[in-house]
Amino acid sequence: MNRNDLEQVRTFLHEYDGPEIRLMEVCGTHTASIAKNGIPALLSPAIHLISGPGCPVCVTVTDYIDRLVSLSRTPGTAVVSFGDLLRVRGSRLSLADARADGADVRMVYAPMQMLDFAAREPDRTFVFAAVGFETTAPVYALTLEEAARRELRNVKLLTSLKTMPEVIRAVVRAGTPDGRGRIDGFLAPGHVCAVTGSNEYQELAEETGLPFVVSGFTGPQLLASIAALVKLQGRGTCLNFYPEVVTGTGNAEAKALCRKYYEPCDASWRGLGSIPRSGLRLREEYRTLDAGSSGLDGDHAARGCECAKVLTGQIMPVECPLFGRICTPQYPNGACMVSQEGSCYNWYISGRTR
């Protein structure tokens, strides 16, 4: 976008005085980028940005964390995870707590790193905490593929894999027409769409009667997408504003890899409960690689924690009674304050108030 266009978009968003409009981003990277670019300060008071259930760490239920903690304390087993998940508390403890207590928990930057551990320590079982959306599911599948090629038999996944379309439908259903939680349009997740393709979102748009815009991640890209959503309000259509990366049908290779390893399943989401066909699990023939992922549905968040209402746009993070008082990035209570893609975390660190 050239300077002139950017200026026009900024002016439009700043001076917008139409009906109140509530737009939701359902991608944690969008949440972080909105904070990083200071975008809320550029919007008219009539435009609200709401962070949806798009941060994988935030939507993970406590049963899943508890299971990881118990695996990490099992002799001969190590839990391998990305950094963010380590500090999320289950019903009582986090993986970081367990590690401080002597459990075998290892942080990595990429799942493939686990394979080197597994090769070096053949007598130990390595379980990867496989949380994520359509973007990360193929990465775990690739890791299993590579483990098979290297003939590593001591590698498993504990999956909590989620998919977008069904949870978006659930969010739309949960909103009341003029009450809280009503959503008037969605920033469609750019990275997820790169894998799945934007056609899924065209279907969603037609079905819900709401606009979707597939957005990139830079400040100007986000501003352009938000402006487009405001202009499209009331129309069930999907525009692809990220065509350099996203196509209608997505990444065929990644999709085939996912079909090979996973099948759709019901999944439990923090704050939303179990949603039919909103997740992925390992197929029957790969079930021996699963460290016990089924039935982890219970969610017992800390008392007073309102993550559930935040994730569905019922309240703003600053409206949670714990926000900034007893729940801070240093001492997080809920998952939304732990993850760098969490909405509470991003509101807190950027001083956002609206």
Binding site: L6, N37, G38, A41, L42, A110, D116, G219, G351
Partner: protein
């Protein structure tokens, strides 16, 4: 002749220790005080003293642009400089892991000696201990390593030591160069990425600090930007001065390689650790001269003015505010969470 690897015997205090000192440490560090090899070194000097200590545990111990030895000198020397001191003496305590290749130790020690010479300090006393090696633990870095503690002594000339409570509305905020190189270099190495355009910025900053003093710049606050990054330092300046500091993100110097690396990992240069950069707040009319003085000094070629201080608005709290390139605005708090462990 020394063995190829460090053994427990090198920490025994006996013959092996003596050989390690005689063949490795003494030739590198030699100076009139250390050469006496007495239990403690008696050194000349009097007046106001600045004293500091720091332990270095960075892993990997060698990285593009430096190693733990250079870092152990820079870290302590820069801490002394920030207190307005002229660094003079260092101590060096080594904790070596059994199995450490002696060649690695030799490289670390010679780079330490070279950096000390550059910084104009003498390493006047030292100690060596050996502990058990790693037993195939976490991460990909399986090599036995070493840790170094350095303490430093400097002399503080008469005059005012910069304290952040002297920051006034209108003062300018400067950084001495590009941000994030040390952090990005260490992280990339640990992730197993070889990025030829990344190198640590670890450097002793005496020349630029003296240049500011010689130019008569009224420095109202000065701190080296290490763990926690620029945002953490400026946030602390805001809190202790009660002012609101405003920086323009587009003016903050960052090398393209670091910018790209941060983009991929979702990191922010303003929160990344450095080992050769300082943040300075000066009187407004001195700012341009300060930039010129720093740019003319070693390691200061990318110095820039990045923002200014303002009075805190009625009903608001002092804070660090960042104006973003798209014209947005956000608050920058201190770094939360663990940061990157063992970065220095």
């Amino acid at each position: 002749m020394l063995e190829e690897r460090i053994t427990m015997a090198h920490g025994s205090g006996g013959e092996s220790t003596a050989r390690l000192i005689a063949e490795l440490f003494a030739p590198c560090f030699h100076n009139e005080y250390l050469d006496k090899m007495t239990d403690s070194s008696v050194v000349p000097g009097s007046g106001r003293l600045a004293v500091t200590t720091d332990s270095f545990v960075v892993t990997p111990v060698e990285y593009p642009g430096g190693n733990i030895g250079r870092l152990a000198v820079c870290g302590t020397v820069n801490d002394l400089l920030m207190s307005g001191a002229e660094p003079r003496y260092l101590t060096a305590g080594f904790i070596l892991q059994e199995g450490l290749p002696v060649e690695v130790l030799r490289r670390v020690v010679s780079s330490m000696a070279e950096t000390a010479r550059e910084a104009g300090v003498s390493i006047v006393t030292g100690d060596t201990k050996v502990i058990e090696g790693k037993k195939g633990g976490e991460g990909t870095d399986q090599e036995p390593g070493l840790m170094i503690n350095t303490a430093g002594i400097g002399f503080v000339p008469d005059g005012v030591v910069p304290e952040p409570d002297r920051i006034r509305a209108g003062d300018k905020i400067l950084v001495s160069g590009t941000l994030g190189e040390h952090h990005a270099t260490i992280l990339a190495r640990r992730m197993g990425l070889d990025n030829e355009s990344l190198a640590s910025d670890n450097a002793p900053l005496g020349e630029m600090v003296r240049a500011l003093r010689d130019a008569g710049i009224r420095v109202h606050a000065m701190r080296d930007i290490t763990r926690g990054g620029l945002a953490t330092v400026l946030h602390e300046f805001a809190i202790s001065s009660g002012r609101t500091l405003i920086i323009q993100e587009s003016l903050v110097p960052v090398k393209q390689a670091v910018r790209d690396f941060c983009g991929i990992l979702g990191l922010e240069p303003v929160y990344m650790g450095n080992e050769g950069k300082i943040a300075i707040v000066t009187a407004p009319e001195d700012a341009e001269r300060a930039v010129r003085a720093i740019r003319a000094a070693r390691y200061g070629q990318d110095a820039a003015i990045i923002g200014e201080a303002a009075d805190t608005a009625e009903g608001r709290k002092p804070a660090l505010i960042c104006r973003t390139p798209v014209g947005g605005e956000r608050v920058l708090g201190p770094l939360y969470g663990e940061g990157l462990p063992r970065i220095c």
